[in-house]
């Protein structure tokens, strides 16, 4: 980009020079790169930009249907003598429950299937590998009535 010759050429060069000088004046601190001030001895990973995923294609064509629904959680109620005792004395129902179910799921399942409120749920895994749930009903529900309604008298 040689400047054009002639009287206009000289002013062109001068214009370029003044422009460069002005730029340098403004960025005086670029000449010397200062170090960042460190106030701590440890170096922590600097936080960088995290972008959200924008997949080009979904990995699963459709989300799976619910894998452990209410009907699958509760398998069947127990009708052993000790279970009967629990119904009468402690206002609790005893269920055999799917092993993958947790107490929250059991609570929801019992509420949905039999319309009862539970006070607490205790679970254990039997030596046979099944999960047993002791479902203590709330005070305003009678375990005996519910048991009659379910069919385990």
């Amino acid at each position: 980009m040689a400047p054009p010759k002639g009287p206009s050429g000289k002013s062109d060069v001068k214009a370029q020079a003044t422009k460069a000088a002005k730029a340098l004046k403004g960025n005086a601190h670029i000449k010397k790169k200062t170090r960042k001030m460190r106030t701590s001895v440890t170096f922590h990973r600097p936080k960088t930009l995290k972008r959200a995923r924008v997949p080009k294609y979904p990995r699963l064509s459709a989300p799976h249907r619910q894998r452990l629904d209410h009907y699958e959680v509760l398998k069947y109620p127990l009708t052993t003598e000790s279970a009967m005792k629990k119904i009468e004395d402690n206002n609790t129902l005893v269920f055999i429950v799917d092993v993958r179910a947790d107490k929250k799921k059991i609570k929801d399942a019992v509420k949905k299937m039999y319309d009862i409120q539970t006070k607490k749920v205790n679970t254990l895994i039997t030596p046979k590998g099944q999960k047993k749930a002791y479902v203590r009903l709330a005070a305003d529900y009678d375990a005996l009535d519910v048991a009659n309604k379910i069919g385990i008298i």
Binding site: K56, R59, S61, A62, Y71, L74
Partner: protein, 122 residues
């Protein structure tokens, strides 16, 4: 309950199928309770029938859903469960087209020097 026929199920809508599924599952729960409390023989034998019908309803549901998804994803990059499953090794093989590709040099050679077959006169 009448015996479930699958071709009738295929005619039903998705909502219908799902309500039917719920009813069947509720019935199965009752049957399981009766199994524990020493139920009648006709109830116990019904368990197998109900389990089969639940499976049939679920099969019809998932088959129709997959069919619709395939038409929805036509001419687009397929999600992994719609791609052919075959086996892992087969999926990693060269495609037929890839395996049959030749260099231009090789193609010319084949054109100008094809494999000749000769026959000997007895």
């Amino acid at each position: 309950m009448a015996k479930i026929k699958v071709h009738e199920l295929r005619a039903k809508s998705k909502a219908d199928l799902q309500t039917q599924l719920r009813d069947l599952k509720a019935e199965l729960a009752l049957l399981r309770v009766s199994k524990v409390t020493g139920g009648a023989l006709n109830k116990l034998s019904k368990i197998k029938v109900v389990r089969l019908s639940i499976a049939q309803v679920l099969t019809v549901l998932s088959q129709t859903q997959k069919a619709h998804l395939r038409t929805a994803f036509k001419n687009k990059r397929l999600p992994l469960d719609l791609r052919p499953k075959k086996t892992r090794a087969i999926r990693r093989r060269l495609t037929k087209h890839q395996a049959s590709m030749k260099t231009v040099k090789q193609k010319k050679k084949d054109t100008y020097f094809p494999k000749r077959k000769y026959a000997l006169k007895a």
